[in-house]
């Protein structure tokens, strides 16, 4: 279970997941599905951040064997997860409230906000 992998593979994997999330946000009208696609995009970014941290760690490791550079990136991913958990709880509460008022989760109901 060891070896090296080019960073490009991770970039393109995260890019594909991110673009699928963007397409989902643009093509669906169900507010919950749109919210799930946002979570998908967040996870794609997290994966790329972890891959970059391991890449940077390997680069520095060749000159300094005792380094622990790359820790910061993994903690950033941890904080992104924390913030997105808080975001989900508030967002789902807003969607539940919207459903209670309109009996629909169609995102087009929200275009009344512009009037």
């Amino acid at each position: 279970m060891e070896g090296l992998m080019p960073i490009n593979y991770y970039i393109f994997l995260a890019l594909a997941l991110f673009c699928i999330g963007v397409v989902g946000v643009l093509t669906r009208r169900n507010a919950i599905i749109i919210f799930m696609c946002i979570e998908l995009m967040l996870n794609a970014v997290n994966l790329l951040l972890v891959a970059f941290s391991k890449m940077h760690h390997l680069n520095v490791l060749q000159t300094n064997p005792a380094t622990n550079v790359g820790t910061d990136a993994q903690l950033f991913v941890f904080f992104i997860m924390v913030v997105s958990a808080a975001e989900v709880s508030v967002g789902l509460a807003i969607i539940v409230m919207m459903y209670r008022n309109t009996h629909s989760i169609d995102i087009n109901f929200l275009n009344r906000l512009k009037h």
């Binding site: 992998m5 997941l17 169900n30 997860m81």
Partner: protein, 165 residues
Amino acid sequence: MNVTEILFWILSALAIASALLVVLSKNPVHSVLWLIVVFFAISGHYILLNAQFLFIVNLIVYAGAIMVLFLFVIMLMNLNTDTEPQKNKWLKVAGVVAGGCLMLVFVAALKSSDTQQVQMGEGNIGLIQNLGKALFNEYVLPFEISSVLFLSAMVGAVVIGKKGD
């Protein structure tokens, strides 16, 4: 092809196929279940990168807590294929074209970049010992602030979700 590469390709194919099914499936419950599969595949990638702490956090927080919350809300509203609102066909085509163009631009910009290697399956930066030391020394203030954030999110969710006004 060694074991790591084979696992990488299997997990990548699983993640992308499940992500497509999240967007394509008509029934919202199926979308949630496919999204859980995506999160499991991404957690598998974290294991391959030896980010063990993030693996377990991703599994517990995302696949465990957040997706159960989504599933609860969808079942509470009794959503299914019949009640699913649909955009008209041309808007869908426009959305797919726009997303495809975004992907095309990114691929064109990045395909000729010089490649560097990623360390797989070894290295100790992803272990809980190293991350815990950094989290409670240099990052102790953001850690405490995030607990305040959670408290305010909890209060906000209760206030927004309360019946009546």
